[in-house]
C-alpha cells in the first residue's frame, strides 16, 4: 500500500518511457501534433533524399547497372510521391499547427481531436505507401513498390498494365493522406476565423497566418479533386469501371486534367507556407515592419485564385489545340504578377533595413534569389511552343526542383533555425548552421543549375541510363556531385538539431527580439500557451509592448 501511495503522490518521478509514448500518441495539443508532423516529415525527407541519391548514383556514368530499370522506376515514383505528400505537406502543416494558434493568441486549434485524427491518418498513409515494398507483390509476384510515376498517367495504372497491388498502395495512401490534409486545412481555417484573441482582427493577423488561411482554402479545392480521381481509379481497378479505360471509350487525358487540377495548385499549397516563413523572418532580421502588408495579403489571395486556372500548362505536349494553349500560357504568365509583387515587397523590406545575417536570414536571402530564377524558368516553360521542345526533359525537372528545393526547402530550413528555439528552448548552433547553409547552397547550385543543360540538350526525364556518346556524362556527374554536398549539409543539419537539443545555448522566450505573439510566451510554450489571453492593438503586438512610447497602433 505504502509504495502505491508513493506512486500516486509522486507521479513525475515514476514516469517511464511508456508514459511518454502514451503522452505523444494520445495528445491533442497542437504543439505536440505539429512536432510529430515535422518529425514524421523529416524521417520521410531522409528516406526520399536517399532515393534521390540512389538515382544520382545510377546516372553518374553512362550504361550504369547500379539499379535495375524496374527499380529506377520505383525510385522516382516513390521519391516524387514521398516528397510531395509525406514530406512537403506534413512539414508545412506541422509548422502551421505549431505556429498558427500561438500567433493568433489562441490556446489550441479549433478542433483538437480532429487535429490528432488528421495527423495519424496522414501518418498511416505514409506507412501504407512504404508497406508496398513488402506487400506490393501480392499474389501476382508482379513488382513491389509503385512504379507508375508520381502523376500515374492512365492507362498505365489500369489492371492490365499494373498488375499486382503496387498501384493500389499508391492510390490508397494518397487517398488516405488526402483525408488528413483536408481535416488539417479545415482546422486551420476554423482556428484562424474563430479562435483569434481579442483585438486580433483579420487586418492585424501576422502574414504567416494569412498565408496559411489561403493555403488551407486552396487545399479544399486542390486535394479534393485528387481524392475524387483516386476514387475513380479505385472504381476502375477494383470494380471494373471504365473512367480511364480507353478500350471502353474512356479517356486517358481526363486523368491528366484531374491530376493536374490537383497538381498545379498543389505547388502553391507547398510554396505559400514558404512565403509565410519569409514574411516573418525577413522583417525581423531587417529590423523593419513588412513592406506593403495589404498588398501582400491581396497578392496571396490572388495567387490562390489564379493558381486554379493554370493546370493544363502541364499538358501542352498533349495537343490541346490553339485555344487552350493560348489560355493556359496567358494564365500561367498572369500568376507571375502577384508573385512579383511579393518579391518586390520583400526587397523593399530589406531596403534600408538593419540586416542581421543570422542563419535563418541567410536561407531567406538564398530563397529570394533562387525563387526568382525558378520563376523565370517557369515563365520560359509557360510559353507553349517552348514547352513543346522541353516538355518531359531534364529542364522541367530542374525547374520544379528549383522551386521545391531552392525556394521551399530553403525556407523550411530558415523556419527551422528561426523557430527551433521556440520549440525546444535552445538555439541551433550558428556555426554548424553556416556550414549547413554554404554546403547546401553550393550543392544545390551544382545539382540544379547544371541540371538545366542536359535538359536543353534533350535528355528526357525518368530514363534510367543514357549512351556514352550523348555528351551528357560530365553534366550528370556535376549534378550528382552536388547531391553529395546536399546530403552532407543535411546530415550537418540533423546533427545540429540533435546536439543543440541537449547542449545548445538557452534561448529564452524571445531570442530574436521579434514582434509576433509566439515570442511572448516561454520557450517551449506551456501546454496552455498563454497564462492570460493576450490583447492586441496592432500587427506587431510585441513591438507595442517593448515600445509603449511609440506603438504601431498609432500608425496603422
Amino acid at each position: 500500500m505504502a509504495t502505491q501511495t508513493q506512486v500516486i503522490v509522486n507521479p513525475a518521478r515514476q514516469r517511464g518511457w511508456l508514459d511518454h509514448v502514451q503522452d505523444w500518441v494520445t495528445t491533442v495539443d497542437h504543439k505536440k501534433i505539429g512536432l510529430m508532423y515535422i518529425g514524421y516529415a523529416l524521417i520521410f525527407l531522409v528516406i526520399a533524399g536517399f532515393e534521390a541519391i540512389l538515382m544520382r548514383i545510377q546516372l553518374l556514368v553512362p550504361n550504369n547497372h547500379f539499379v535495375s530499370p524496374q527499380d529506377f522506376n520505383r525510385l522516382f515514383t516513390m521519391h516524387g510521391t514521398t516528397m510531395v505528400f509525406f514530406v512537403g505537406m506534413p512539414i508545412l502543416f506541422g509548422f502551421g499547427n505549431y505556429l498558427v494558434p500561438l500567433m493568433i493568441g489562441a490556446r489550441d486549434m479549433a478542433f483538437p481531436r480532429l487535429n490528432a485524427f488528421s495527423f495519424w491518418v496522414s501518418a498511416f498513409g505514409g506507412l501504407l505507401l512504404y508497406f508496398s515494398y513488402f506487400a506490393g507483390s501480392g499474389l501476382y509476384g508482379a513488382g513491389t513498390a509503385p512504379d507508375v510515376g508520381w502523376f500515374a498517367y492512365a492507362p498505365l495504372t489500369a489492371r492490365v498494365f499494373s498488375p499486382g497491388h503496387s498501384t493500389d498502395y499508391w492510390t490508397l495512401s494518397i487517398f488516405i493522406s488526402g483525408i488528413g490534409s483536408i481535416g488539417t486545412a479545415l482546422n486551420i481555417v476554423a482556428t484562424t476565423l474563430c479562435m483569434r484573441c481579442p483585438g486580433m482582427k483579420l487586418s492585424r493577423m501576422p502574414l504567416l497566418v494569412w498565408l496559411y488561411l489561403v493555403t488551407s482554402g486552396l487545399v479544399f479545392v486542390t486535394i479534393s479533386p485528387l481524392t475524387a480521381a483516386q476514387i475513380m481509379l479505385c472504381i476502375d481497378r477494383y470494380l471494373g469501371g471504365h473512367f480511364f479505360d480507353t478500350q471502353a471509350g474512356g479517356s486517358a487525358v481526363l486523368w491528366m486534367h484531374f491530376f493536374w487540377i490537383f497538381g498545379h495548385p498543389e505547388v502553391y499549397v507547398l510554396v505559400l507556407p514558404a512565403f509565410a516563413f519569409a514574411n516573418e523572418i525577413i522583417p525581423v532580421f531587417s529590423r523593419k515592419a513588412i513592406f506593403g502588408y495589404p498588398a501582400m495579403v491581396a497578392a496571396s489571395v490572388g495567387i490562390g485564385f489564379v493558381s486554379l486556372s493554370v493546370w493544363a500548362h502541364h499538358m501542352f505536349t498533349v495537343g490541346m489545340g490553339p485555344g487552350p494553349n493560348a489560355f493556359f500560357t496567358f494564365s500561367t504568365m498572369v500568376i507571375s504578377v502577384p508573385t512579383g509583387i511579393k518579391i518586390f515587397n520583400w526587397l523593399a523590406t530589406l531596403w534600408g533595413g538593419n540586416i542581421h545575417l543570422t542563419t535563418p536570414m541567410k536561407f531567406a536571402i538564398g530563397f529570394l534569389f533562387q525563387f526568382l530564377i525558378a520563376g523565370l524558368t517557369g515563365i520560359m516553360l509557360s510559353v507553349s511552343p517552348f514547352d513543346w521542345q522541353l516538355g518531359n526533359s531534364y529542364f522541367v525537372v530542374a525547374h520544379f526542383h528549383y522551386v521545391l528545393v531552392g525556394a521551399i526547402l530553403f525556407m523550411i530550413f530558415a523556419a527551422f533555425y528561426y523557430w527551433y528555439p521556440k520549440m525546444t528552448g535552445r538555439m541551433l548552433s550558428d556555426k554548424l548552421g553556416s556550414w549547413h547553409f554554404w554546403l547546401f547552397l553550393i550543392g544545390f547550385h551544382l545539382t540544379f543549375d547544371f541540371m538545366h543543360i542536359p535538359g536543353l540538350e534533350g535528355m528526357p526525364r525518368r530514363i534510367y541510363t543514357y549512351e556514352a556518346d550523348r555528351g551528357w556524362t560530365l553534366l550528370n556527374q556535376i549534378v550528382s556531385s552536388g547531391a553529395v554536398f546536399q546530403a552532407i549539409a543535411t546530415l550537418i543539419f540533423v546533427w545540429n538539431m540533435v546536439v543543440s537539443y541537449f547542449k545548445g545555448e538557452k534561448a529564452g522566450p524571445d531570442p530574436w527580439d521579434a514582434w509576433t505573439l509566439e515570442w511572448s510566451t516561454s520557450s517551449p510554450p506551456p501546454s496552455y500557451n498563454f497564462a492570460t489571453l493576450p490583447v492586441v492593438e496592432s500587427r506587431r503586438p510585441l513591438w507595442d509592448r517593448k515600445h509603449p512610447e511609440e506603438p504601431d497602433a498609432q500608425y496603422e
Binding site: L186, V219, S224, F243, G249, S520
Partner: protein, 198 residues
C-alpha cells in the same frame, strides 16, 4: 512587458467571432463540392460516349417522387432547428422524424431504381461508361445521404431519449447545413443525370 494599451472591458465583451462548428462544416462543404464537381465533370464528359448500350434514355425514369421527398426534407430539418432553438422539443422531434423518413424514402427509391437497372436492364458499373459514371455519381450522392441520415438519426434517438435541449441547437444547425448541402447536390445530380444526360 505588460500589455501596452489594454482594451476596455466593453471592447473585449464585443469581441465576437464566427462559430467554429459552422465554419468547419462550411469548409467541409467546399471540399466535398470539389469532389462532386469532378464526378459531375466526368459524367458530362462521358455523355453519349458509351460504346454499347443500354443508354440513359432507354433505362432511366425521372425520379420525381424521390426528389420531392429529398428536397422537402431540407425544409423540415430547417423547422426542426428553429423549434429546437425555441425549446419546442415535441415539434422538434416531429420535424426531425419527418426529415429522417423523407430521407429514407429517397434512399429506398434509389435502391429500387438500382435493383431495376441491375436485374431488368443488366446495367452494372462494368457494362459501359454510362454505368460507370452513373453508379459512381449517384452512389457518391447516396453515400452522403446515408451519412446524413446516420447523423440525423442519432439526433432523433437522443431527442426521443429526452437528452436534447435548446443548447444543442447550434450542433443541429451544423448537421442541417450538411443536409442542405446533400439536397443541393441532388439538384445538380438530378439536372445532370436525368435532364441533360437523358
Amino acid at each position: 512587458m505588460s500589455t501596452a494599451v489594454a482594451l476596455t472591458h466593453e471592447q473585449i465583451e464585443e469581441w465576437k467571432q464566427p462559430s467554429r462548428g459552422i465554419v468547419g462544416m462550411a469548409c467541409l462543404v467546399i471540399a466535398e463540392s470539389a469532389i462532386f464537381i469532378i464526378f459531375v465533370v466526368a459524367y458530362l464528359f462521358y455523355i453519349g460516349k458509351s460504346l454499347n448500350g443500354p443508354t440513359p434514355r432507354e433505362v432511366l425514369e425521372i425520379p420525381w417522387f424521390a426528389s420531392i421527398c429529398l428536397l422537402s426534407s431540407s425544409i423540415t430539418v430547417h423547422f426542426a432547428v428553429l423549434d429546437l432553438r425555441q425549446s419546442r422539443i415535441g415539434r422538434f422531434i416531429t420535424w426531425l422524424a419527418t426529415t429522417v423518413v423523407l430521407g429514407s424514402i429517397f434512399l429506398a427509391a434509389t435502391a429500387m431504381e438500382w435493383y431495376d437497372l441491375i436485374y431488368h436492364y443488366g446495367l452494372t458499373i462494368r457494362t459501359n461508361l454510362f454505368g460507370t459514371t452513373f453508379y459512381s455519381l449517384v452512389g457518391l450522392h447516396a453515400s452522403h445521404v446515408i451519412v446524413g441520415l446516420i447523423m440525423l438519426g442519432l439526433a432523433l434517438v437522443f431527442g426521443l431519449l429526452g437528452k436534447v435541449n435548446a443548447h444543442h441547437a447550434e450542433r443541429l444547425e451544423v448537421v442541417s447545413i450538411y443536409w442542405h448541402f446533400v439536397d443541393a447536390v441532388w439538384v445538380v445530380v438530378f439536372t445532370v443525370v436525368y435532364v441533360v444526360g437523358r
